[in-house]
């Protein structure tokens, strides 16, 4: 068995885990992040939802029900963690716009608006009302993106389609990384004689260089340009994930891909190591503390058996509606399914309640009562709790 020693092991590579790991690495701790696969963050719109259910994120958080884990993060820490996030992304040439004071709207691929707090700069010009005059540029054959949805809701919108030679999100985005392709595209755009105030594109303007691509289009056509997030594969989600991952590595953190945790070694009240699957011998990762950020059901952190819900790594006690009948409402699309509140309940230090181990810290959507969809507590919640859990982990270690 290969044994590797660290100060902290972070399990899960979503926004929460990456934030916690990078911050701890920045504090000069030896940090490793293990993950069973790539996170659901890759599938996201790349927008940072703090609390999207209200116009004002801070007021929205104050109005969350008692026991919501967001109440355990002070507004100062929330604000600092988002400032740091914006700084990091700006350093990565992927700036974000927005403020904690008020949520902004982002146009979706079906012509509706989504409330969010911070947006990638490529979505900054997204219209704030359906009265705005926008021209939509789409790509021939692009799947899951139909301008008709948006045109039906925007009286002052028009569209044209460009043949990029490929019809997949990834393929088109890869083409935009090529200067010659971009130049041909720009010349075509100029010929379209667009008169609308803003130009919209599905979010395919490059894999890494989207910000610079959108700036180039803006300067050539002399009007604001914005991206509309697409169904997965979602380029803005991937860009966010890649940037956060590179940031962690720059801070000195180590990432182990596809190392699903299969066992835990304990001694007394401490977890000493996690064992992960490998081709030959399992690996054993020793650490003084562990941060659990494996996400909820889709992320794989929680698993629903017929009668109960289990946490998959440490088998921590899971908070869930007591009655199996309360897991689901009759309405499929209801935001109030009881199972949405399931997760790990934690104390002020983000340590799991009623747990036999005292060196585990929990953050992100696996926290009980988060209700990510209902409350719009997305990446912003993950970043804030990731930072908070990391901070109390550091205090414990010192």
């Amino acid at each position: 068995m290969s044994v590797i020693e660290y100060d902290v092991i972070v399990i899960g590579a979503g926004a929460a885990g990456l934030t916690a790991a990078a911050w701890l690495a920045e504090q000069q701790l030896r940090v490793a992040l293990v993950t069973a696969g790539e996170p659901t963050a890759c599938l996201s719109t790349g927008c940072i939802d703090v609390c999207s259910r209200s116009e004002h994120p801070l007021a929205g958080i104050a109005g969350l029900p008692d026991g919501h884990p967001f109440h355990q993060v002070s507004p100062e820490l929330l604000s600092r963690s988002l400032d740091d996030f914006r700084q990091t992304m700006a350093d990565m040439d992927m700036p974000y716009a927005g403020t904690l004071e008020i949520n902004r709207r982002v146009l979706s691929a079906i012509g509706t608006f989504k409330n969010t707090c911070l947006v990638p700069a490529t979505m900054q010009a997204s219209p704030q009302s359906d009265a705005e005059r926008i021209h939509l540029v789409t790509f021939t054959g692009l799947k899951d993106f139909y301008p008709g949805y948006i045109l039906s809701r925007f009286p002052n919108a028009s569209f044209s389609a460009y043949d990029a030679g490929v019809s997949t999100t990834m393929g088109i985005a890869a083409n935009f990384e090529d200067g010659a392709f971009l130049e041909t595209f720009l010349l075509w755009l100029e010929r379209q004689k667009i008169r609308k105030d803003k130009i919209a594109f599905p979010a395919v303007l490059g894999l890494e260089s989207a910000f610079s691509v959108s700036k180039q289009i803006e300067s050539r056509l002399e009007r604001p340009v914005f991206e509309i997030p697409t169904l997965p594969p979602s380029m803005p989600g991937r860009r966010l994930f890649n940037a956060m991952k590179d940031h962690l590595r720059r801070q000195g953190g180590v990432i182990y891909w596809n190392w699903p945790v299969i066992g835990v070694e304990k001694s007394g009240r401490q977890v000493e190591a996690v064992t992960t699957e490998a081709q030959g011998r399992p690996n054993s990762l020793n650490a003084r503390a562990f941060i659990l950020s494996t996400g909820s059901f889709v992320g794989g952190g929680l698993y629903a058996k017929r009668d109960r819900i289990v946490e998959r790594v440490f088998d921590l006690p899971v908070f869930a509606p007591e009655n199996r009948d309360d897991w689901f409402e009759q309405d499929y699309f209801s935001m109030n399914h009881g199972i949405g509140r399931a997760g790990i309940a934690v104390d002020d230090a983000f340590c799991p309640l009623e747990s036999p181990w005292n060196n585990i810290f929990v953050c992100g959507s696996i926290l009980a009562r988060t209700e990510t969809l209902k409350n719009g507590c997305g990446h912003g919640f993950a970043i804030a709790t990731g930072r908070a859990a990391a901070r109390s982990c550091l205090e414990r270690l010192r």
């Binding site: 890759c42 490929v166 990384e177 891909w257 596809n258 490998a278 992320g299």
Partner: protein, 398 residues
Amino acid sequence: MTFEHCIRCTICVENCPVFRVQPDFPGPKQAGPDAQRFRIGREKSIDDWVLLCSQCKRCEMACPCGVEPAQIILRVQQRYGLEHPHSPAHLLFANNYYLSALGSMTAPLANRIAASKIGKKILGQIGISTYIPFPKFSFHTLRREKKSRSRGDRKVAFFYGCFINFYRPDIGRKIIRMLQSFHIDVVLPPQVCCGLPALGNGNPALARTFAQKNVASLSNYIDAGYDIVYTCTSCGLCLLQDYQGILEIPETKKIAENCYNLHEYLLKLIAEREIHPVFREVNRSLAYHIPCHLRALKIGYPAADLMKRIPDLDFTILDDACCGLSGSYGFKKTNEATAIQLGTRAASLVRKTGAEAMVADCGSCRMQLGGLSGMDAFDPAEILCESLGIRGKKQNNA
């Protein structure tokens, strides 16, 4: 996990290097789990695009649900190979081992022919691409090395692999000398090609023949108390994964449990305080391109952990891009465009680091990226040897 565990999240698609640049390949999700539902009947396989998969295994590393799209596709590739006539290029590369043996025996002549215009023309005619120079055969293969034993308690049987044996035996000799300098007894067990090229070119019967020979030989050494050490990451992956998996060779669990990557092995011995290497400063700045198959081995990046101990050595880890060559994949005319596009991107990432040379564990990554970036490409073992003051007897210019 089977194809039924796929939740169609498309994270694998986002990670597929081929899908990025080759529109004819539908991506790991469609080629793997999606199409698998239709392959259960006895109809002849007609989906020739499965051959476009380069088996980099990036989809498997990214999948959050443990589905193995590359494994599914590999099996379909074998079936396709059984049901359809092989192209000359497939036939030649499947028999790469015999070909290389012939090439080495006639090294000066074979090298001259492969590098000549007429030689390239012939290679082109049979569907072999020559955009980067073919590696040079070495007359003094590693297996003709005279036996020299050091007396140590640790006994290592070195699985050197075809690349080192036929093309870069100088690296093999350095590795042997390095191990001996730690008083480790090194032997070169009888061995043939690991079988991966045969699998990759749709010839499972040949792969099985190779595998059985290797297992019989290595198994004897394990019983006699030897640890198996490999250095080629693709050979390693084949020994550990494919022998147990697709090739279904009996008794291979023993092989998997006793096989170590060279650097993983050194780290293990250091951790067990059995060896105490003194690394002297190496004044270089390097870009460390992580081979896809090193990721797939799930042993972390052990060479990076070792190189971190070398004073003055500055290196950047790059693990986001596949070099595109994938062994014999990029040498086939049909894949040439894909390989060049992927290679150019990976090479530009390497150059962007500003490093003066690059380092990669895999011989074919070095061939591709060294060739396309024009930079010197080293095996990490060469850097370790430089630091430890271990020199080869003579330099090879391949």
